[in-house]
């Protein structure tokens, strides 16, 4: 009866010391059996769906107004040039520090700050910030800051002119492909937290980004080609804060919750990028299952010389298949919706933003406990970033709390995130259907397939989390 179940941290990469404390130990004494959580989650979705059909008959998320502007004084400060320069300088300094640590610091994930900074502070830590405060990555990105500085030095248009016309059909495919590569570095490659590997990755990414901005224009590249800019922009659609650009005038507005997702976007590669977001987290969960751990072991021991390569190929294949499966399931659901509505048009762009809350939910469910544990390492590492025994800020001896959260707490957060994320996904999709189909009846009927998809994602997500 007292069946225990290991919950995964599901961070396949091996970070400092404790870093690979993937598991959280057994969840025990839950009020209901674990399997009931899956059915409970599915039930919540079905009920929400029914309630949406009954009570939500007009589109409410799409607003003609662009939101209320923040107080003028606050806007003036936030959008001011000096602030931009200061933040740019700080971010470039930090960028140089991290690259320097990766290059000349001790080549160990436990004593070098680069792996923790990149995988935990940047990659995981920015997610909640962007979701709450909007797309601050645009202001924080050191690559954009460097581009700005270069442009300012040589004169606008001298560097960043469009040498190559960016074709519309490329859409966000470059960003999707690059994000896939980044995820492969994290989940496929066997030493993702090796400082030197990260230095090489940063160098490659920097070249791609700066050349991309140079060839296609800064904005074009950041909107379509830069994986991080696009990733954080997608997530920032959940935020109530947005920058509204009206010709030359920029202002920060507060918009209705979720209204950032109430848009149609048929840009090619968008579904692919969202599928990479969802699929990579799913694969991370999958790779922590007993089945996969044993399979990888068999691959590695199969050959002394090529075992690790074989394991990586297995990982790569499975990551690709997971991403393809996520995209395929979405296309199927959308295709079914189109058939129901007898719509000749492709609907993929109509509902794609309803997947963003789910992507966030997956990220929270899989990584929040890892973040709570691992981010603590940034405190001692900040004082001794290179592993040379320094104590810059007096925090080098900070002891981390190895068990900051109880397994049950983690489980409840995971279940809560999954269910809430999917319900929000349903709300957004429902609202989009109402906008697009006008007849509330047709709109509801198109949503059955998406409901099935969301139930599948919820149950699948919980299963993966419970396996780890």
């Amino acid at each position: 009866m007292r069946r225990t179940l290991a919950l995964a941290f599901a961070g396949a990469f091996v970070l400092p010391g404790t870093a690979s404390a993937h598991g959280i130990g057994g969840v025990k004494d839950l009020p209901v059996p674990l399997w009931l959580f899956s059915y409970g989650g599915a039930l919540v979705l079905v009920l929400s769906f029914a309630a949406l059909g009954a009570l939500w008959k007009e589109p409410r998320l799409e607003t003609p107004a662009r939101g209320r502007p923040l107080p003028a004084a606050l806007q003036y400060v936030l959008l001011s040039r000096p602030l931009r320069i200061v933040i740019g300088l700080l971010s470039v300094l930090l960028f140089v520090a991290v690259i320097a640590a990766a290059l000349v610091g001790e080549r160990s994930t436990a004593t070098n700050i680069a792996p923790t900074f990149i995988w935990v502070i940047f990659w995981l830590g920015l997610v909640p910030i962007v979701v709450v405060f909007g797309n601050v990555w645009r202001a924080l990105s050191p690559w954009a800051a460097v581009a700005d500085a270069v442009e300012w030095t040589f004169g606008r248009g001298r560097v960043s002119y469009r040498r190559i016309e960016y074709r519309a059909q490329w859409g966000r495919w470059p960003a999707a492909a690059l994000l896939f590569l980044f995820m492969a570095l994290e989940l496929v490659y066997d030493e993702p937290a090796d400082p030197l590997t990260l230095a090489v990755a940063i160098a490659a990414y920097s070249l791609i980004t700066w050349y991309g901005m140079m060839f296609f224009g800064r904005e074009t590249w950041l909107r379509n080609g830069d994986p991080f800019a696009v990733y954080f922009e997608f997530l920032s659609r959940l935020s109530i804060f947005a920058v509204d650009e009206h010709g030359d005038r920029r202002q920060i507005v507060v918009r209705r919750p979720l209204s950032g997702l109430a848009a149609r976007d048929a840009t090619p590669g968008t579904v692919a990028l969202v599928a990479v977001m969802l699929g990579s987290v799913s694969f991370d969960g999958l790779s922590r299952t007993r089945f996969w751990v044993d399979l990888r072991y068999e691959a590695i021991v199969a050959s002394i010389d090529y075992g690790n390569l074989l394991a990586m190929l297995l990982n790569l294949g499975a990551l690709g298949m997971t991403v393809a499966a996520v995209a395929g399931a979405y296309r199927l659901a959308v295709g079914a919706a189109a058939r129901v509505a007898r719509s000749g048009e492709a609907l993929a762009g109509v509902f794609v933003w309803s997947l963003i809350p789910i992507a966030l939910a997956y990220a929270v469910a899989h990584y929040f406990s890892l973040f709570v544990l691992q981010s603590q390492y940034a405190i001692p590492l900040a004082s001794d970033p290179l592993g040379r025994g320094w104590d810059l800020f007096g925090s080098a001896d900070h002891r981390v709390n190895l068990a900051p959260l109880s397994p049950n707490t983690i489980w409840y957060v995971q279940v809560g995130a999954l269910v809430i994320g999917h319900v929000i996904g349903l709300v957004v999709a429902h609202d989009r259907a109402l906008v697009y189909f006008r007849s509330a009846r047709t709109a509801l009927r198109t949503q059955y397939a998406l409901l099935a998809l969301m139930v599948l994602y919820t149950i699948g997500g919980m299963w993966l989390l419970s396996q780890g």
């Binding site: 941290f9 091996v14 598991g23 059996p33 030493e191």
Partner: protein, 156 residues
Amino acid sequence: VQPMRRVAVAAAAAIAAVVLFLLLRPSSDGGEAAPSSTAPTSSSSATATATATTTATTATTATPRKRPRSATVRITIRDGRVLGGIKHPRVQKGELVTLVIRADVSDEVHLHGYDVSRAVTPGHVVRVAFHATVAGRFEIELEERGLEIAELEVER
């Protein structure tokens, strides 16, 4: 009115489904019923192998109430693989765990999480003892080879 009826029907159906599940759930270990049909690798077999691989000085998983004080995990590496395949030992939090490692290669054994590393050399038995103070699942890895040899689960 019609949509309200639809909601009522859906809600009734859903509640009926839950009640049915509660009633029909196969006896005590019901947790295995539905999800595990898609999960062939999960825990029914897991418990068995874990107990077998953990050569506990006092049976670890069999008597959870008695809280045994210590457990021993033996791992033998021969011809580049773990004898008996990758291990999935389970111990209880608070136990004194001893890893007994015998390898026919020179490498470094790394217990992640607890962050304990020991060099292993052919012909020598290495013992690593530690108090399992943090619950969780922890990799034990042959560091240079990059081979995971065991996943230690410390249960609360």
